[in-house]
Symmetry: C2
Subunit: 243 residues, 2 copies
């Protein structure tokens, strides 16, 4: 490999020359990953609600860019730590960028999983679950948007508002799960489609979890204190009556 000057992001046109620019560059990549995650989540909803198969192609294209961006963020974080030895606020910003990049990449994975179900999802009969799915999608996209703003500022008050909304997403998933079970029991021909919809609903619920994780990273970036332990889980799909 050719010699590259300090702070160059290798195989990348963007040459970072100063410490501040290196930090701004990290935030810019996180912003781009966040925009992709929101677009992929929107497209997942459109895939289910409008049964538009072109959404699947776009989600998977964005997924490649998402993976590439996470790779660049990891590379850049290690370079900044090695060459600039950041401390205090800057160190927290760099470490949280590393974690948040991983969270956003997971969101991309969840949407890609839904996209790969397109052959089944786009041929669904017109189930009434489209309403709940788009409500869940709007809620999750709102959480993600706020979590990313809370991380960018950073804004701890906004971050805590995101965390509160996660239980609502879990409850929507649980009720959608039970609704789908009833369709499957009433008409076994819907079983395959409904099971795939259950996984899409679970993926949306997990995107809400990741938005909450990003909000916790925003809290840490803003305050320097980490949130310990896990959150109350509202997902009680497993409390349905056993057969």
């Amino acid at each position: 490999m050719n010699w590259t000057p300090p702070m160059t992001v290798s195989k990348d046109a963007h040459i970072v020359t100063s410490y501040d620019e290196a930090l701004r560059d990290l935030d810019a990549r996180i912003d781009r990953m966040g925009a992709l995650a929101i677009a992929q989540t929107r497209d997942t909803i459109a895939l289910v609600v409008q049964r538009d198969p072109t959404m699947a192609t776009r989600i998977l294209e964005h997924e490649n860019e998402m993976n590439e961006l996470e790779y660049r963020v990891n590379e850049q974080v290690v370079r900044v730590l090695a060459l600039r030895q950041p401390v205090a606020d800057d160190l927290r910003a760099v470490v949280t960028c590393l974690k948040v990049a991983g969270m956003l990449e997971r969101i991309g994975d969840y949407t890609a999983n839904a996209a790969r179900r397109a052959p089944v999802l786009t041929q669904l009969a017109n189930f009434p679950v489209r309403g709940p799915v788009s409500r869940m999608g709007d809620l999750v996209i709102g959480m993600l948007d706020d979590a990313l703003r809370a991380f960018r500022e950073p804004d701890d008050a906004l971050a805590s508002l995101v965390r509160e909304r996660d239980e609502e997403v879990d409850a929507l998933h649980a009720s959608l799960f039970r609704e789908l079970l009833t369709y499957m029991m009433e008409d076994p021909r819907t079983i395959t489609a409904c099971t795939h919809l259950m996984f899409v609903s679970k993926n949306l619920e997990r995107i809400g979890d990741q938005a909450t994780n990003i909000a916790e990273a925003a809290h840490y970036r803003a305050t320097g204190t980490m949130i310990s332990g896990d959150r109350p889980k509202g997902d009680d799909t497993f409390r349905t009556d056993p057969v």
Copy 2:
């Protein structure tokens, strides 16, 4: 908060006095998290295969320790970066410990999700899927065990062996998914139980993904080069015939 001397892990009996000890302490916590993740995965298999409800309680108890350990690793990593400014191999070790702790915590989440399904899973009729589930479990536990050893050494050759096995897990999940669909169609009374088994199967498949991510972290720790892009995905459950 009281003043704590450098390298003290706050609210923790273990006082880290030297740089080397700080790095050993990080690896020890990752080892403990790895042991917990393997135990939780074993218990998840026992929950399904032996329908032993006590497994669920143990998984959730381990989950609390897992979350606490991840919190300690994050805290310790930031402290080492701030006070010791590691470079080269040490920097890679510290950064990968941060990432691997997150991966192991995710594995705990997947097993906790299965544990919360215990009320349904432990009352299952005697499905023949127990064979595939324990095969999948053994494979995933083997991958996890090798990935953790590859990370500890670090051993890049062992790490690449782990990555190759992920597709086999994905294929087992896909065939189990299709098998469960047929049971649901033949006997609608099995629908609830089978959907929960599908999610357990998916959780095991995701544990395989995380073992592969740990192997990639081991590769980076060993070689200093990251693995870019995502892996070929063998999970084709979404290619089942649409209704």
